[in-house]
């Protein structure tokens, strides 16, 4: 019980700290916007520069590096283990967080070795490519709402282009190059195989990734992620907000699965395949490996961010939103919204790590089969259904009802137990020998 209260206290403290942190970020963005406006430059430049520093370098980087620790500790909890706890700070393991510093120190001070026959420009470029393109994805993700701070209208997002989702598709495709180049430039058979696997897998999933979001584009009639998030605050079906998960549950599933394939993590970790080919980063050492390794976690955070912005209501706190909006100072509301966004991101990161530790790796033909035979047709069907529903009823009510029906159907199929009780009786029935039993099928 003591630990339960402690954990809840830590969670509450982290959430409170995040509210304060995001309030500071808002103030910094507003201050910089005012500064640039004073110089006669567009005010947006100032907030964009500050947001690049605060959101991308602080929020994404810190979350991604904490995920490296979280992967160890959370997987341990899932497997009834304790996890990393040998670095003690004043007698406390601090949840394994000091391992972050130890890992960073190790990566930075390790000897960098290079394969002699590498293609050296590409070899140096690949980690940067892998890291930068996933990083840039986050530029269009709205972390907080548009509010007035210090006389300037700022939002916690780096850039707000109207082509938001297209930017995501473009840069998600670019991320493939990091993997492929790393595999190719190493001049190593196993690494090359990993790179090629990565390329084919990610190009396949690019298709369903894009198609899964078409339904959302139809429903919200925009590509801009900030507008999409605002549209998710409107109510549909009484008090229920029109979040993407309600309108597009199938789209959410397809997008999440495809995003998973994009992160190159288990069960889609064929490019790495530690047990057979080591992976595309086989020849990398030191911080170059660290960048490829960290890029994976950055990708987890960024794709969680995209999923939250598109499907889970973005920075809408959802609970008590009306009360918060009327009773709080706009700055405080913005900070609370950004904290809600981060909380959702962390939950999704947790879900991704759970699935990563849950499922074994797919075989290559199974990966391609899942993409082309299951996800792609489902995504196409989803587009047709969404299009028809929006055409018949532009108020999204029909679409919401279809979404509810889909959720209920998924829930029903999941909870319907067809096999578990049969296990006991199944064992009694193989008196006639097993090979014959198998051949009968």
């Amino acid at each position: 019980m003591k630990r339960l209260f402690g954990m809840l206290l830590v969670i509450a403290a982290v959430l409170g700290g995040l509210v304060g942190l995001f309030a500071v970020f808002y103030l910094a963005a507003g201050w910089a916007a005012g500064l640039f406006a004073g110089w006669g430059l567009p005010a947006f430049y100032g907030s964009a520069i500050v947001n690049t520093l605060t959101l991308m370098l602080v929020v994404v980087m810190v979350t991604a590096s904490l995920l490296t620790v979280a992967e160890r500790k959370w997987s341990a909890a899932m497997q009834d283990r304790i996890g990393a706890n040998r670095i003690l700070v004043f007698g406390s393991a601090l949840g394994g967080v000091p391992y972050l510093l130890a890992d960073a120190l190790k990566m930075l001070t390790k000897e960098a070795t290079y394969p002699a026959a590498r293609s050296w420009i590409l070899f140096e470029m690949a980690p940067v490519q892998a890291f930068a393109s996933t990083f840039m994805l986050f530029a269009v993700v709205p972390v907080g709402p548009d509010i007035e701070v210090l006389g300037q209208k700022v939002a916690l997002m780096v850039a707000n282009p109207d082509v938001g989702l297209l930017w995501i598709f473009a840069l998600a495709s670019l991320a493939v190059y990091g993997t492929t180049l790393a595999g190719w430039a190493s001049n190593n058979r196993a690494a090359m195989l990993g790179g090629v696997r990565g390329a084919s897998q990610m190009i396949s999933y690019e298709v369903s990734l894009g198609l899964a979001l078409v339904g959302v584009m139809i429903a919200y009639r925009t590509l801009n992620l900030q507008e999409m998030t605002i549209a998710q605050g409107a109510s549909v079906l009484g008090p229920m907000p029109a979040i993407g998960l309600l309108l597009q549950p199938i789209g959410f599933l397809v997008f999440f699965a495809s995003a998973f394939a994009e992160t190159k993590r288990a069960p889609f970790d064929l490019p790495e395949g530690e047990s057979e080919i080591v992976g595309y980063f086989m020849e990398y050492s030191g911080m170059k490996f660290g960048m490829l390794f960290l890029a994976e976690f950055v990708e987890v955070v960024v794709l969680s961010g995209v999923v939250v912005a598109v499907f889970l209501g973005g920075w809408h706190p959802i609970l008590f939103e009306g009360w918060l909006r009327t009773h709080l100072h706009p700055l405080a509301f913005g900070a609370v919204g950004a904290t809600a966004f981060m909380a959702k991101v962390v939950v999704l990161c947790w879900l991704q790590l759970t699935i990563r530790w849950l499922l074994p790796r797919f075989r290559f033909d199974q990966i391609q089969g899942l993409c082309w035979k299951l996800l792609l047709p489902t995504a196409l069907l989803n587009i047709f259904v969404t299009g028809a529903a929006v055409l018949l009823d532009p108020s999204l009510k029909l679409l919401a009802w279809i979404g509810v029906a889909e959720i209920v159907a998924i829930f029903g199929v999941t909870t319907a137990v067809s096999r578990a009780p049969a296990q006991a009786s199944g064992h009694g029935g193989h008196g006639h020998g097993h090979p014959a039993h198998a051949a009968g099928h």
């Binding site: 019980m1 630990r3 339960l4 954990m7 283990r81 998924i410 096999r419 199944g426 064992h427």
Partner: protein, 243 residues
Amino acid sequence: MPYQLDNPPLDAREKLYFPEIFRAIGLVARTFFRNAFFSRDTNPDILERDQRLNRITTLAYPEEKAPYPSAYRGLHRLVPRVDGSPRCVACYMCATACPAQCIYIEAAEVPDDPIEKYPKKFVIDELRCVVCGFCVEACPKDAIRMDTGEHAPPTYTREAQVLDEKQLLRGPPVSYDHDPWLRRDSRLPARDLERMRDLARPFAQDATDEASQTPGFSVRALASEARAAAGAPDAGKLASRKS
């Protein structure tokens, strides 16, 4: 016969793949929250742990140690007398019995005593020791025991594994009523002698008896237990042969 795996074909719901994943996520999530949000029982006896909430069965080793069985042959110790000097009389029995030749003894005479010797140096190389326990069996004075319950500690140098008489002399003191230094005129102060006589107990004839070995461990008790477990016929046969 090897275990036969029942591997029936997938039904329609399982072929969808996703519902089964959702169920599995639920399962893993439950395990995660139990283990992450509730404290772990640190009882070194894992089977006795309270696993209603937290299911972790890890023994976090240096902090939580599983108790060794009572017959465990741990690190040697030189048994002290009540006054703190070693019981050892430097007779070289243990060094002679040692198959690994890891015991080195240098004897010296007790200054004001006509007969008695003591070990000026008593060194055991724990790296050479094969932990056979022969030294304990050989000792006529019950002066060396392996009842510390510790194994040789890890060290950074080989030299640190060579224990001398200062490191070996530790643990609870022991006295027996036939100890010669209690019976004859002794160099010991009268008060110490009195205490030692009070603590003295009869010396066991058998080196593996519970009186001279680790408390709770008895070869005789185990043997009689085994005989009882084997059943009455054996005991009966023995009895009939005797009669």
